[in-house]
């Protein structure tokens, strides 16, 4: 039966040698290698659930009056877009489940990419010959942030609109070209022309997902062409890869992980409420609410926007740098820019141009680990600053005091953390040397004891 099928396919495609090699392609076994896979599976869930939602969503911003089943909003003016998402949540069978699963999947997607990136960074997996894979991955992360932002903006509830207003402010703040760029994207000043929502929609459901799919395909092709990296655990060397073959070993595990990720996301979508848009109400240019927070992965940007002091760079009547540029554009550019050039920087400063298939442990490269922890701490502190209004509400700490604390801490603490991380790496290395010497000494002593007395 299987022989027949294989023969049929091979005679028509001639791919048996390739397929046979693929079946025996090796996957090194380490839990941290699953993070990228989790991101991939989230993307699959996102495409599936997103396609379903697109069957019901309307991208029109025409004004309608709500007469649906959710009583508190009855009689209110809103856009058709918002009403269609309300209908998905209240009237479409299983609509709320799919919508919430989609939203959860987006949050987990970005989280998995970020954790995957941390694994890649701290183990030096981006080194030659895998720089291209790394740069593609970083680009996927950047595009995923934009995709998520467009996704929750399309709902057109109050929080969506506030997010779009901020996005517009950030676009306008780009030196010289900002206003023109904003007018281009929005089709005029905020809230933009009626063409703006269809533009976001085609971006969210076609252009960006297609871009992510292409980048992802290239990313995975590069991984497969160069094979996986691996930790030095036993027989692994720079030239020999040790692992479980695609089939039969890896296939059930990967399929299992796919279904586990999907199952967890569906459970979250069914049991844990996310973005109850009916509570926020429709957006109007003239309304906003306190306690507004974006999805977690944009928290670092809202933190950066809030931390900046009142600071426009002006020359005469011309504003070279309007304020939102610092936190909304420059800060993420610096973080991503640094991540992009890091492999080149490291190569330049260590002079290491060798091929690397074996991974470092963080302690093996103390400078890299220190810099990574410093950068991570910086981003994390700015992220926390974005939550300081919530801290004020829950713990009563004065908002302005917190902001001043973070303005200082976000520059001091990362340096301290970097030095501590460096020290810890060196101590761990020293500890290992002591351990190795101890084992050596014990071995010698045993050999000594076993030697017959002459």
């Amino acid at each position: 039966m299987i022989r027949k099928l294989v023969r049929f396919l091979d005679r028509r495609t001639g791919t048996a040698p390739f397929a046979q090699k693929t079946l025996r392609y090796l996957f090194p076994d380490h839990w941290s290698f699953l993070l990228g896979e989790v991101a991939l599976y989230c993307f699959i869930v996102l495409v599936a659930t997103g396609t379903y939602l697109a069957l019901f969503y309307s991208d029109s911003t025409a004004d309608v009056v709500y007469h649906g089943p959710y009583v508190p909003l009855q009689g209110q003016h809103m856009t058709e877009a918002y009403r269609s998402v309300l209908d998905i949540s209240t009237s479409v069978k299983a609509g709320l489940l799919i919508r919430q699963t989609h939203h959860w999947a987006a949050n987990v997607f970005v989280a998995a990419i970020v954790l995957h990136l941390l694994r890649i960074f701290f183990t030096g997996a981006y080194r030659k010959p895998r720089e291209l894979t790394y740069w593609l991955g970083l680009t996927i992360l950047m595009v995923a942030l934009l995709e998520g932002y467009l996704g929750y903006s399309l709902v057109d509830d109050l929080l969506s609109g506030m997010g779009l207003a901020i996005g517009n402010g950030v676009a306008l703040s780009i030196p010289f070209i900002g206003a023109s760029l904003g007018a281009f994207i929005w089709g005029g000043p905020f809230p933009g022309s009626s063409a703006f929502f269809p533009r976001m929609y085609i971006g969210h459901v076609f252009l960006i997902p297609a871009l992510i799919a292409v980048l992802l395909a290239a990313h995975l092709a590069l991984v497969a062409l160069r094979h996986h990296t691996q930790f030095r655990q036993g027989r692994e060397t720079e030239r020999r890869i040790v692992g479980v073959p695609t089939f039969p070993g890896q296939t059930p595990r990967s399929l299992g992980l796919l279904l586990a990720v999907a199952g967890l996301l569906v459970l979250l979508g069914g049991l844990v409420q996310i973005n109850p848009i009916w509570l926020w109400g429709p957006f109007h240019t003239y309304s906003s609410t306190n306690g507004a927070q974006p999805d977690w992965y944009l928290g670092w940007l809202i933190g950066a926007l809030r931390l900046m002091p009142s600071w426009d760079w002006t020359i005469g009547n011309y504003t070279l740098v309007p304020n939102p540029f610092w936190g909304g554009v420059l800060f993420p550019l610096v973080v991503f820019g640094f991540l992009y050039v890091w492999p080149l920087l490291e190569r330049r400063f260590t002079g290491d141009r060798a091929f690397h298939n074996l991974l470092d442990r963080p302690r093996d490269a103390p400078v890299r680990t220190a810099i990574g922890f410093g950068l991570l701490t910086w981003v994390l502190l700015v992220f926390l600053a974005g939550a300081s209004d919530r801290v004020f509400v829950f713990f009563g700490l004065s908002y302005s005091t917190q902001i001043w604390f973070f303005r200082v801490a976000s520059f001091v603490v990362p340096v301290v953390v970097a030095f501590v991380a460096h020290r810890v790496c060196l101590e761990l290395q020293a500890g290992e040397r002591v351990e190795r010497r101890r084992e050596l000494a014990i071995g010698e002593a045993r050999a000594e004891a076993r030697r017959p007395l002459s």
């Binding site: 025996r24 090796l26 299983a94 489940l97 919430q100 010959p129 207003a165 901020i166 517009n168 402010g169 306008l172 703040s173 010289f176 206003a179 007018a183 281009f184 994207i185 089709g187 905020f190 533009r199 160069r226 094979h227 020999r240 890869i241 040790v242 479980v244 073959p245 039969p248 070993g249 890896q250 595990r253 299992g256 279904l259 586990a260 199952g263 569906v266 459970l267 979508g269 069914g270 109007h284 240019t285 003239y286 306190n290 507004a292 809202i302 926007l305 809030r306 009142s310 600071w311 426009d312 002006t314 011309y318 504003t319 070279l320 309007p322 304020n323 936190g327 909304g328 091929f355 298939n357």
Partner: protein
Amino acid sequence: MKDRLRTLLVLVVLYVLRRRLPRRAPAGEHAPGPPAERIVPAGTPEPRAELLAIGLLLFGALCAAAFVAVYVLDRLPRQTQLLGLSLGLALLSIAAALIVTGKRLVVTEELEHDYPPEEHPGEQEAIAQTVAESASRLTRRRLFALGLGTAGGALAVALLAPLASLGPGIDLDSFVRTPWRKGRRLVDEEGRPYRAADIEQDTFYTAFPEGADLEQIASPLVVVRLPPRDLDLPRENAGYAAAGIVAFSKICTHAGCAISLYRTPLFPDAEPKPALVCPCHYSTFDPATGGTVIFGPAGRKLPMLPLRIDGRGYLRAAGNFDGPVGPSWWDVRARRPFA
């Protein structure tokens, strides 16, 4: 008929439940040559793990069926939760079955082989040579390359040119046009005009130009009343207040959110003055001094609208804003709003 069916059913169940035993070669027959070399090594059966996997698969199927049932029944209390629970458990138990299969049932091999070679110098050379030799008939290579580049660039510009239809890229007058002009009445969201007497202290009001589009960024105002002796307006805003009532654009000059917090001094020691606050990034503006920034990231003061009270007590605009509305762009400070 019924009996036959029952026998058939029993036979099917027995067939499915039967355990596969290792097949022995029948006595007397010759073994057909030496057995082919195995690719995947043999392993010992694990009947309990196998049963567990089968059980999980069947439970997954049950949950998937339950999902369909909940979906069809519709309008159950906690419909979304039941749907999520049934589908989620279906996926998770099938996932568990697969993971049991991967970890305990299929043969786990730890193989090793060589990484692909670092590079292929022979092929690299051949590619370079092929490209170089292909151009051997060209005599003006530099000019040819220039031509290719020019054509490509021009074509790219031509293909991108229609994108200019997206929006007004150069003419930014729409950014500073406002619906406010001298004499226009202030109305609320429902279109009812505000009288000066409606405006009380320690709270704020959202006002719009009568008959204008409410969603336009230059429409909404935030209106507050201060004790006239607390007003400390700069010289250029002299006369903007009417009986202690002051009006500002409701759109924050930082990133364009609506200002919807009015901090009246609950804690007079720490925060001595009333202030308008934007909830997005907490830019804080002082209404008494003409909307100047006293905290937070905003880089420009709030645009102020001059007010007057007409003979019947209605609030009217006495002119346009003293600066452009909304977030800053590069020549925002060089422009004046117009109606």
